[in-house]
């Protein structure tokens, strides 16, 4: 599963090109009304192959959740192209979009909020079938789906509040599978679960991918889980992609200073290494997406930023690492960055 480091050779299931999403927010400063633009996603491009998992990581303000929702057109993209199995989704008419919705689904983070508390589990899981007017008896399909995710068919009569968080996530996954989608966007699917149970849901997702060949867009902030499940990892910061490449490579040999900082900030469950390792301590907070820095967006916190970084935005291209990096001075040398940060 993790061995795949090259994208699938079949035509990509999802092709995102130059995706942009800006939100307009109005506020007030005293009596005056102010209008500001939140640059949530600025020019993001990536592809997801058949049966592949692309992990999208980033912190708050990175825009990763917005990307996930834009892909499904739950949020309307401001501009850009999203091709699903070769068909352009942006600008698609309602009727056609409805048909496309069978093919791409979403699983949310909060197991409690993602299920209507008034509907039985069976109703929730069969709702997609009813909305898309799938003919036939739904109860059989519901039973099949529940078993697929490791629950019992007679759980269909129960209500969400009778289940644990992990089980509710499974129900959410069952619902997402109801229409046999080719792509599932998973927005922090295990973040709200206990660590010792996350593995069960992750294993389930792995199994489903092996069996059904579904592609995943796995959005998360927990880097170790993303590393485990993803083939390709994409790192976002303030609405832009910083680095995209095979998950293993990104994790072990990151080239972008932000990726390095991110990885060095993640606490490892090993006291000896944890207390002796070199760590990049970034200063300050993530800048506001309303006023992103000029040039490279990371430069205000980057320990090795130079003048060029403020003037010219680095393009996301291969600079020798074998995968695209958006940095003028990419380096896999952690010590160099740590040294610069300590100054």
């Amino acid at each position: 599963m993790n061995a795949k480091s090259t994208p699938s050779s079949d035509a990509p299931v999802l092709e995102v090109t130059n995706l942009v999403k800006h939100f307009s927010v109005s506020g007030s400063k005293g009596i005056r009304k102010t209008r500001a633009t939140v640059h949530a996603v600025s020019d993001v491009s990536f592809t997801v192959g058949a049966g592949q998992t692309v992990g999208l990581v980033g912190e708050s303000g990175s825009g990763k959740t917005t990307v996930g929702r834009s892909v499904l057109r739950l949020t309307e993209p401001t501009s850009g192209s999203i091709k699903f199995k070769g068909q352009e989704i942006v600008g698609m008419k309602r009727g056609d979009l409805r048909k496309m919705r069978r093919e791409m689904q979403i699983v949310f983070q909060d197991p409690q909020a993602s299920l209507d508390p008034r509907l039985t589990v069976g109703s929730a899981v069969s709702e997609p079938l009813r909305i898309q007017r799938v003919p036939g008896k739904h109860s059989e399909r519901v039973a099949e789906l529940l078993e697929l995710v490791g629950l019992a068919p007679d759980h269909a009569r129960r209500f969400p509040h009778e289940f644990s968080g992990g089980q509710r996530q499974r129900i959410g996954i069952a619902r997402a599978l109801a229409l046999n989608p080719s792509l599932i966007v998973l927005d922090e699917p295990v973040s709200a679960l206990d660590v010792s149970i996350q593995g069960a849901v992750v294993n389930l997702l792995d199994d489903l991918q092996d069996r059904l060949g579904i592609s995943y867009l796995f959005i998360a902030h927990d880097l170790s889980v993303v590393r485990h499940i993803s083939d390709v990892m994409a790192v976002m910061y303030l609405g832009k992609l910083m680095e995209v490449g095979p998950a293993e490579t990104i994790y072990t040999q990151p080239s972008h200073p932000y990726t390095q900082a991110l990885l060095s900030a993640v606490p490892e469950p090993d006291p000896t290494t944890e207390r002796t390792r070199q760590r990049i301590l970034l200063q300050g907070d993530v800048p506001s997406p309303i006023n992103p820095p000029s040039g490279c967006r990371f430069r205000t916190r980057c320990p090795i930023a130079k003048d060029l970084c403020a003037m010219e935005e680095p393009a996301l291209i291969d600079r020798g690492a074998g995968h695209p990096v958006a940095c003028h001075f990419p380096t896999t040398n952690l010590a160099e960055i740590v040294g610069a940060a300590a100054v």
Binding site: L97, F108, S114, D116, P117, F159, H161, E162
Partner: protein, 328 residues
Amino acid sequence: MADTAIPEGLLGADPDLNDVEALNVRVLTPFQMAWRRYWHHKGAAIATIIMTMLLIIVIFAPLTARYGINEQVLKIQEGNNVYLSPRSIAWMGTDEIGRDIYSRLIWGVRTSLFIGVTSAILSVIIGTTVGAIAGLRGGVFDDLMMRVTDIFLAFPFLVLVIVVRAALGNLPWLTAIIGDISSIRFLIVLFAIFGWMGVARLVRGQVLSLKEREFIEASRAVGASNTRIVLSHLLPNSIGPILVALTLSVAGSIIGESTLSFFGLGPQPGTNSTSLGLLVELSSSGAKQGNWWLVAFPCGALVLLVVCINFIGDGLRDAVDAKLDTGK
């Protein structure tokens, strides 16, 4: 109920097939949990019992009322029947032309309840529709609707009602549809016109808070239309506030009708009908002579009715507490 709030995570869910220890906890539907919570509210419980009894008496009026609505207690020949104090032939005394107050009260409550409930239902239907659309759609429609409600809510209720009543009542084409200005139908429509705003606000608020919830998004992701989302998800989850608004609306209408009748603007007496308000109004002259039963019983009934309805509303509010969503 906040005192018994348990920190999250302490109540593991029901055991599934893997657990060694089987816990025998009864499985409850959200409705059953709400039912329980409702009856836990002492005031609501008592009020419900009283209201049920009242309703039975009132619905079976021909049987439970001892006399007709305009029937006199005694024939003139048999003796004086005017302003009799409470006694065996007239449990609550008689009025200025000898009619039994008790029976008239029953008929009156019947009418008042009818007006209250019907106008409340009408208000809620209108208000829910407007509120749901405004909340879901947002934008210009929302702004417009909210400004309209703001305007209406800015005026003192009774003043507005009296003015509008006069205005509408003089439109012949309108009265042809909804009835004469002094008819019950007219009154119901009038109250509905003024009652929907509060409900609209409430429903709009609910919709706004619900529509960003993830299960709504999940439905959208599958291609559900707005109508479907409103009908299958938003409204069922808003039943709580709607029910509460309904009960308060009933109470409001009853009081409103009484007030209007007191000023002579309600349904007119004579035509074989009466209402609580009328009873109170008509009693004003006789009461000055010291015939306390003319005022006490109708007013007492009014107070009892409104208090009971309010308690029921309280109980409903408890029953549909937000904890319904957490199910803990």
